[in-house]
Symmetry: C2
Subunit: 936 residues, 2 copies
């Protein structure tokens, strides 16, 4: 940050571009002054002074007090009043104002400049002693609180006491004399508790207040907030000193806030609140109910029209919806603040499209006016705020977990996935409640409207699957004790059972007792579609979707996906009717493929053997061949049974995505994921052993246990999975490739334009890619010959291992596309297991500031990103046309999408419900990149 020599800027010297130095509030006050709007004169002490103050161990910067005195002189001249002058006192407000709006910092001191003498002068000049004493009372109260650190509530108690003693019901019934008494009591209290008189010297008042603002930059609440929001600690706050205007001098005065358009709906109508005869804090305090702005229209049409005129001008100037504060003093309007308004998703979208139609902004700007999170909100059911507030007010909030998949869901509690499938068929809306979910729960999750778990983080199985399928989900709700065996969950001392109703909000993490009425969004609103349409024209990244079935594919296509970037095949294996076949296949696979390799080895040995050894080797070969017969038969039979299922799977998807590329990933997870749980079997066998009831079943289970144990791995994530499966068990991959090409050929024969791409997961060496590519090509060729149809296709790989990145140049010799699997790449680059880390040390790391972001949510640009960059560069060096995309969860996360744009990827692929988010984020990345350049 450059250092300037100027420590104070008069409002007329600054402008809106100086937020670093003047803070947001100061810069906008300067801008409004510059534009000729009625802003009470004032000046801003720069953020650099605050930093100097902090760095020097809380000493006022040398010369700053003199500068303040000079600036005050200037104010005195402009206002024709004098600071501390009993005859015609100048009063000022002191407000903090950092670059970003920050709760926790000192807010406001009003009426500064009052003391026992000037209060009398004010009383005389306004001819309103009650007003003057009330102003002084307020000032003492605020100053004591924020500068002297005395508790506000003690002053409030003194005032209540006074009202009681004088029979006043509300503040304004206190007479001037009572207020005078109260002021004496306040002062005595200050003397008592600080040992010093309340300051009479107005400059002491001012300097202490400025110091208090400086200090508040480092108060705990501000520090915590900055840490949470990743705001740097060295920004500092500016201090705004502004001459007072009074909205509480009578019924021709007042104060209010106004929005240039409706911030809830986006409608192009000036809206806001107003209070007659009130100072700003009265509006905020909420003691009196403010009037709608239309009341001002009737009561003071001139003022209203002036405000409307200013609003129009401000909006045209800032080209954005403004949130303004204003005060009317004796019929004269003053502007105290303007800033870009916070708004709802609906309002953001409507205002942005309206402004384009009004030619106020261009489409690029409109695209930047809507956040990806706002687009996300539009796609999920939600609760009307009033309904949810009511439920919470009624004490129905049970707990708050981690919001893991947005949207609201209300339904019947179910603890078991099979039960969920059954109840779904009865037409029930369900919320699946589990300690955690596993792949076994897939069908049950799909059958539910919402998912609630007590463990796991935002990247737990439940969260990932729920987001993928767009099911609202709350995870890690540790306050709940969930017992799926007993089919109950406990919240505190209350117990809920299957069949009870609950509501969850996956956008906020709330879990509420009973049913809160849901509002279902219909289609994506027309205005949002316009925004996304503009985004599509701007963005350079393609947007694909991750979809495993025709329903998801169709949905994603409707939401704007231009292809499937990841069609997983494992969920297909999990389906109810297939799982037993899959299990049988897996149990024979090891003996079959292992036996086949043994036979090949012996054949090789036989060919190389010396004469004398041949007979013995021949005998071994025959043994091995005989041993292979049974498992091979079983293996082939089960694969042959699975083939038509898979063919139908692929047929459906390819058809749904007609004309678009569909990237199908061959089987990825470790095989034991398809088998019964080892631990369950262990318990079962132990029980059967002890009871001795069913020796036949015991034997069966023991055998199964042995086989499951053989497939068990210490670290399944690093075990026999991904393409290793297809190399150790090539028949499984061959069956899948055959199914893909049979489906593609059949469809093409029917005139459907199919574009299959086969993706090999987890390749780490050139030879893996070469081996699998050759395997795919040979099966594809065979099927196409059988069918007499040629289909255009590609073979590529998922780049999800660090080693793949280091040999990307070699992989690109055989891979026609790369798709970054950043979930796994993050796991191996960091050495973090997603399943273990998210609920264990990552939260601690985030808390301690070791990590700034959860790397499974926001792509780690430094480490993972560097490997990706290497892969893109070297892959394209081998094959300049290499298509590169991403299909990890990050593909739908805005900051990660932006990074992918910078990496020069061809596309991002994400779950259907995140497609619109990715479309928007991709466009915003382009615009931001341009403006980054133009700023240089």
């Amino acid at each position: 940050m450059k250092t300037t020599t100027k420590s104070i800027y008069l409002f007329e010297e600054g402008n809106a571009g100086m937020k670093d130095l003047l803070g947001g509030k100061g810069a906008n006050l300067a801008e409004m002054t510059r534009l000729g709007f009625p802003v009470p004169p004032g000046f801003t002490i720069t953020t650099e002074m605050c930093n100097e103050y902090s760095k020097s161990g809380e000493k006022m910067p040398v010369g700053l007090e003199d500068e303040i005195r000079n600036a005050m002189k200037h104010l005195e001249e402009e206002m024709g009043k004098k600071f501390g002058d009993p005859a015609n006192p100048l009063l000022v407000s002191v407000r903090s104002g950092a670059k970003f709006s920050m709760p926790g910092m000192m807010d406001t001191i009003l009426n500064l400049g009052l003391n026992s003498k000037t209060v009398e002068g004010l009383a005389k000049r306004t001819n309103n002693p009650r007003f003057a004493y009330d102003a002084y009372r307020r000032f003492i109260q605020m100053f004591s609180d924020v500068v002297l650190g005395l508790e506000k509530k003690n002053f409030e108690e003194m005032m209540s006491e006074k009202k009681k003693n004088t029979g006043a019901k509300i503040d304004s019934e206190l007479s001037a004399d009572s207020l005078k008494d109260l002021i004496s009591e306040y002062k005595a209290y200050v003397k008592d508790h600080t040992g010093e008189e309340f300051p009479e010297d107005v400059y002491v008042q001012l300097f202490k207040s400025v110091e208090a603002v400086f200090k508040s930059w480092n108060n705990p609440r501000a520090i915590v907030y900055r840490k949470k929001e990743h705001i740097p600690d060295d920004l500092g706050t500016a201090v705004n000193v502004q001459s007072m205007v009074f909205g509480n001098t009578g019924e021709k005065s007042g104060t209010g806030v106004a929005f240039t358009r409706n911030a809830s709906t986006g409608e192009n109508v000036l809206t806001g609140d107003f209070l007659f005869n009130a100072q700003g804090e009265d509006v905020v305090a909420g003691i009196r109910t403010p009037l709608e702005l239309s009341a001002l229209k009737d009561a003071a049409p001139e003022i209203y029209n002036q405000l409307q005129d200013i609003a129009n001008k401000l909006e045209r100037h800032y080209k954005d919806l403004q949130d303004m504060e204003f005060t009317v003093e004796e019929g004269k309007l003053y502007m105290l603040q303007t800033r870009n308004a916070k708004r709802t998703a609906q309002a953001a979208i409507k205002a942005a499209t309206d402004m384009v139609d009004e030619s106020l902004i261009d489409t690029e700007t409109a695209v930047m006016r809507v956040t990806p999170a706002q687009i996300d909100q539009l796609l999920h059911p939600y609760y009307k705020p009033e309904d949810k507030d009511k439920a919470i007010a009624d004490g129905r909030l049970l707990a708050k977990g981690i919001p893991a998949s947005p949207g609201a869901a209300a339904g019947t509690v179910v603890f078991d996935s099979d039960e969920a499938v059954r109840l779904k068929e009865e037409g029930k809306d369900l919320v699946l409640v589990r300690p955690e979910t596993t792949p076994d729960d897939a069908q049950g999750m799909l059958a539910s409207k919402g998912i609630l778990t007590s463990t796991g983080g935002p990247t737990s199985h439940a969260a990932l699957v729920a987001r993928g399928w767009g099911i609202p989900c709350v995870v890690g709700c540790e306050a709940l004790y969930i017992d799926p065996e007993k089919k109950i969950f406990k919240a505190g001392d209350r117990t809920f059972k299957e069949g009870d109703s609950i509501s969850i909000d996956g956008s906020t993490g709330e879990v509420i007792e009973g049913l809160v009425p849901l509002v279902y969004p219909t289609d994506m609103p027309k205005e949002a579609q316009r925004i996304l349409g503009w985004a599509d024209k701007i963005r350079k990244l393609g947007v694909y979707t991750n979809a495993d079935n025709p329903r998801d594919a169709a949905r994603a296509r409707a939401l704007g996906a231009h292809g499937i970037g990841l069609c997983r095949t494992e969920h297909m294996f999990m389906e109810r009717e297939r799982l037993p076949i899959v299990q049988q296949m897996i149990l024979s696979a090891g003996d079959a493929e292992g036996g086949k390799r043994a036979v090949e080895r012996i054949r090789e040995t036989l060919a190389a053997a010396k004469e004398a050894q041949k007979a013995g080797i021949q005998a071994r070969l025959e043994d091995a061949e005989k041993k292979l017969e049974k498992p091979w038969k079983e293996y082939r039979e089960t694969l042959d049974k699975l083939l038509p299922f898979q063919r139908e799977d692929f047929r459906g998807i390819l058809k749904a995505m007609e004309g678009l590329w569909v990237i199908i990933r061959l089987l990825d997870p470790p095989l034991h994921e398809f088998l019964p749980s080892y631990e369950d079997l262990l318990v079962e066998v132990t029980k059967l052993e002890i009871t001795g009831e069913n020796p036949k079943l015991l034997k069966e289970k023991e055998e199964l246990l042995e086989k499951v144990k053989a497939l068990k791995e210490f670290n399944p994530m690093l075990g026999l999975r991904v393409c290793r499966l297809g190399i150790v068990y090539p028949e499984i991959y061959r069956m899948q490739v055959r199914a893909i090409f049979e489906a593609a050929c059949d469809l093409k024969k029917d005139g459907v334009d199919v574009k299959p791409e086969v993706m090999i997961p987890g390749v780490g060496t050139e030879n893996e890619m070469k081996f699998t590519r050759e395997m795919v090509d040979s099966v594809a060729k065979k099927v196409m010959e059988e069918k007499g149809i040629q289909v255009v296709y590609k073979v590529g790989t998922m780049v999800e291992l660090p080693r793949a990145c280091t040999v990307a140049g070699d992989l690109a010799k055989f891979a026609q596309f790369f798709s970054f699997g950043t979930n796994d790449l993050t796991q191996t680059t960091f050495g973090y297991s997603r399943d273990d880390a998210s609920g264990s040390f990552i939260p601690v790391y985030l808390e301690k500031g070791i990590l700034q972001q959860e790397p499974f949510q926001v792509l780690d640009r430094v480490g993972v990103g560097r490997l990706m960059k290497m892969a893109v560069k070297e892959g394209r060096a081998t094959d300049p046309k290499l298509e590169v995309g991403i299909c990890g969860e990050h593909g739908g996360e805005p900051s990660s999408v932006e990074f992918c744009h910078h990496l020069g990827l061809n596309y991002v692929s994400c779950s259907p419900y995140r497609v619109p988010i990715a479309r928007l984020a991709a466009a915003q990345a382009v615009v931001r990149e341009k403006s980054d350049y133009s700023n240089k």
Copy 2:
């Protein structure tokens, strides 16, 4: 490879440097000819001709036959005989000869040039018809076998039949006439089985033989061998055609092999075998027992002296121990081959040091003459070959597993680690037999002389620990069925039980019934120490050791280690008396550290809270503080109990390594490794539940089960371990750091020169390094202040995650050294779990040629190496003095050591028994690098 136009080289045209073109045998024959030794004239057809032959689909290269005819003319002139001339026939031998000696290729055809006419000429000229017919008989047999592909045994049967019919007991009793008959039968057999006459045309004989050599390059046995030995397929073989000399013309003839020095002991004495009146194949066939070479000394001193003279000259010329073949024909000596001799470890070392003393070679050459594997052999007990051979001949070989840690062990079978500890105390030599080992077995392994497992590969737990401790080990012995419950193992249909004796050979993988007598190497032989001393002067890499206790440290120091590169602290936690304390500590750690974080969080919230909320937060704080009390007390108490143990651990190690750096790694493994097995507990609880016998125990076990379950991870390798432990549970690391510095200060007070280095495992982000560095520095400072002693120390990190490599430049801001943990780095870079991959898909990958090397044994230079290079470069860019080493298993593997040299590391660290290997390998890397440069 450059192409020459010359397809044939006469022996006098070549030299020893032309092995690529002439093969090893041809080049050495040319060299001997060039030097003037008595070599029967001949020529070599180049390897390029072989490649041309293969590439053209097995067609003789155009013009080659004419070239051969020309070369034969040359031979005829030199020999004064004519090829195919019945009056004075020239006979030749045809031999293959590739660059590397290769079994499986066509070996030799002798006596080529004989047919029905020349045989008569030979008979006449030698005046020895029996000799001539026997030569012809042998030729037909060899030619039929290797050129015509007819089975040898059929010819042998015909000969046996002939002997039977004629009453001859041995071959030489067959008369000339009988041999003549036999030749007719041979020819008839050939005609019968090939449809063609046995070739009379001597050039047809020659060309077919040359083709047969060419073809043999691609025979299955040769292909399999090349694949196994990583010999490129495009080298090709040369063909040597040499005029015949005969060792079987009578008692003044003979044939033999000789070594310039004793190849078993290295003694500088000409040794070898000799047979009178014999052809080469008779020596090889082993039908007659050859005489020692000294017999020749007595029988034909002139020949012997000539041989001795040639041996001396050859050794001086080649400057290496030679293995020679020679023939004596009628009192004249001919040299048929010389090559560098294969030799035992002892011989290699003795010959190398002797040759230095004889000024034959320099020390650098001597260092290159010993292989790291030979040095390794010297350090382990072994079986005398004759003892082992006898045991195997007696049928006592039970199975063969994977040799995992070299050396032999013989002892009593034990199945249980606790039992091993007990039996050890009784003074028994034990072999621990387990399906696999886990960290729980550490004490039992340490108590055993040998370890045998039925599962796992060369990097399984058993293998790693065994190598680390220098305990002979055989793993993955799948032929054995081991049942530790029943305390038996089965080999085939035989069952062995606890107390039975077995012998294992960790260098070969053999498992033998009963006790084979062991030979214990005493110290490293003096000659080996000289070699290693020379190596030390050459090498640039430092050699450190991985040692966890003073005994290992002292041993490694004696073997030449110059520091400890990795002192693991987890084995210390496993020790019998500490484990219960460690377990108690772990069971309280989560509640204690988690509770402490909660308290801190609430305190922060309280500080940042608004007035109105403070009371409620204060109450929550008090609750949290109260809840923390008990676990914190337990946690602190257990840590305080562990502190003195750890202090003693470090005291011992630091003292043993006085004056040298000792790198101590803070706790690394996931905590559940210290707890009882989840599955065992599950079974126990299930049993207790069913029997209902002991409700109190059930409750206890259930609680333990819950806690163990909470610490259970899906992928422990990627879970809460390494520095994550120290950040989530900082008190554990603080205790360890305190113990290190208390020990160091106490020792220094006693005048011991201590040099501790603290190593943080598994750092992946700059903040982890910063956090832990600050933690170590602050505890170190505190302890040193308390003790009033300053100790020089360093803090560094183990670079074992891909992300660490990508941010090495940032890590080096806080790390004073890097040590590559290539075991883990290989795991995460490849995405292979060592435990799962080595016994599962890696063997398949090696078999299918997907991987060329097992990456946990030989460092992967392409992927892992690239990340290491990045880390070295960027770490040193930040801190040019950054010390970089390696402490993974690769640190003791020669090819990996060489790579580390190329990377410019400062040191390698390996298990004590591999220190001499690393010293040698590091020196060899330097020499090889120099010669690589000089070749350019």
